[in-house]
């Protein structure tokens, strides 16, 4: 399977990565190189095989539904590129 340029733009948008028009042909070529590499898997017989869900058999653990992290809002937003009064800020999303 290979991707066309429209698909490259769609994937980039799905991944929330801006791409310029000049980048698209090169990116298309690179993605297709990777896709053709993984294409050989279509020849493998996987009939009746269970998809792996856990690489090491382990029992799912439970924990108490309790607050474990209460460093405070100041600490939580300390690494944010922009914050106000202990809140993350984002560009306006509602009209």
């Amino acid at each position: 399977m290979s991707v066309d340029q429209a698909t490259v733009r769609r994937i980039a948008h799905l991944a929330r990565i801006a791409v310029s028009e000049e980048e698209v042909p090169h990116l298309q070529q690179e993605l297709n190189a990777i896709l053709s590499f993984i294409e050989e898997l279509s020849a493998v017989d996987v009939e009746g095989v269970e998809p792996m869900t856990s690489v090491v058999p382990m029992k799912m653990v439970w924990r108490k539904d309790a607050v474990t992290d209460h460093a405070g809002a100041d600490v939580v937003v300390a690494n944010a590129p922009d914050s106000e009064d202990g809140f993350f800020t984002v560009p306006k999303v509602v009209e």
């Binding site: 399977m1 991707v3 698909t7 490259v8 994937i11 980039a12 948008h13 799905l14 991944a15 929330r16 990565i17 801006a18 791409v19 990116l27 690179e30 993605l31 190189a33 990777i34 896709l35 590499f37 993984i38 294409e39 050989e40 898997l41 279509s42 493998v44 996987v46 095989v49 269970e50 998809p51 792996m52 869900t53 856990s54 690489v55 090491v56 382990m58 799912m60 653990v61 924990r63 460093a71 600490v75 300390a78 690494n79 944010a80 590129p81 922009d82 993350f88 984002v90 560009p91 306006k92 999303v93």
Partner: protein, 505 residues
Amino acid sequence: MTDVTRLTLAQARDALQAKTLSAVELTQAHLDAMAKARGLNAYVLETPDQALAMAAVSDARIASGTAGPLEGLPLGVKDLYATKGVHTQACSHILDGFKPDYESTVTSHLWRDGAVMLGKLNMDEFAMGSSNETSFFGPVASPWLPPHRDGAWAREALAGDKKGLLVPGGSSGGSASAVAAHLCLGATASDTGGSIRQPAAFTGTVGIKPTYGRCSRWGMVAFASSLDQAGPIARTVRDCAIMLRSMAGHDAKDATCIDAPVPDYEASIGRSIKGKKIGIPKEYRIEGMPAEIEKLWADGVAFLKAAGAEIVDISLPHTKTALPAYYIVAPAEASSNLARYDGVRYGLRVPGKDISAMYENTRRAGFGPEVRRRIMIGAYVLSAGYYDAYYVRAQKIRTLIKQDFEKAYAQGVDAILTPATPSAAFGIGEKGSTDPVEMYLNDVFTVTVNMAGLPGIAVPAGLSADGLPLGLQLIGRPFDEETLFSVASVIEESAGRVALPQPWW
């Protein structure tokens, strides 16, 4: 006094305990060596004040008889481990300025046991790479000189664009380079497809990726969560055993981390391997394999035979599918894990006309080309209409890969011997610039182990015709790292310790 950075971790430990050396002296010697080796670019941050303060505490604990198992031993930390209040960026631009308010479980285990942090080590961005060339902070040079080059030439290259110098491998390239150049006694590393074992093999050092679940992943920057695992790189098998004992162990904060006692791995060094069954998988004899790799592998077989092991031929028929399947599973998980880098909670933000444009601009500027490619592949294979054809199929293939190993182990095989890499180290700027897949092929022997969740160790076993280190890999049963340490120490002993390069930098 002799240069204490040339000691192994075990020797340094013994000297500290015998009080013939202080932790402060040992740490200062490493800090001095690091300052002289900045051209290699192994460290992205040096933490001398913290290191000396930790060393002083260690000296006090040694004096009062309360020393931990790693007391006073200076280590480097790969930049993907969260270190409280200290630069943690997984060598990505998108995490600019990030200083976590918490400590990863693995590093907190090291500090609990008395280790000293020298600084943060360079790596491929988000651990995506096999040469340490995708780091936002620039490539790392291996301390090994390229064939037919001398120190004067290499110093000049180091001051320039580093082209022609050797890569240390990746993604744990900073860890491997620092250990091989004696800029730390050992280093933390991490392995998603070969990122501990391949750089260890390229630099003549030892690296172990333990069984999935042996170490907590909490506080490690996530790449592909079902494959990522922590482990050490050090100069000897024994040093790796000492470090892994401290790094491993249960952690309630990682639901995939097993609650089982951690053995004293060091006790397995030198243990007899008489009667152990070592499997040789025929599928690892790949087309175009260099004769020197073939010979290295045969030498490994001879070493183990001489030590009384029984060599058996085995078949792992799905080996060939592991690498392509990995390039579905790993990017898929990466695209999900890296969705958190949105310019809101940490790191870089590049404004846009609306929130969507802000996300897209931030991620365009913050991620390097390899990371962008993998996120896009991941988004594609997970997208509607392709999920079953790619992702579910890859997870089924993963089951088949694991079953191959289970069948071999059911026949009584204790460990499997393979080459660690298909070649010796290559030059900076030499691979992957036109076709990304060329770089991916580095992991052809290591990636199966991650797909099956098994432990694997790379140990130096000889030199290439050009005098560069080559490594062998041993793959073990789940949670049987002890056998790997025993068998690897036989190879180390038989091959003779690799003479690491003398400083030219």
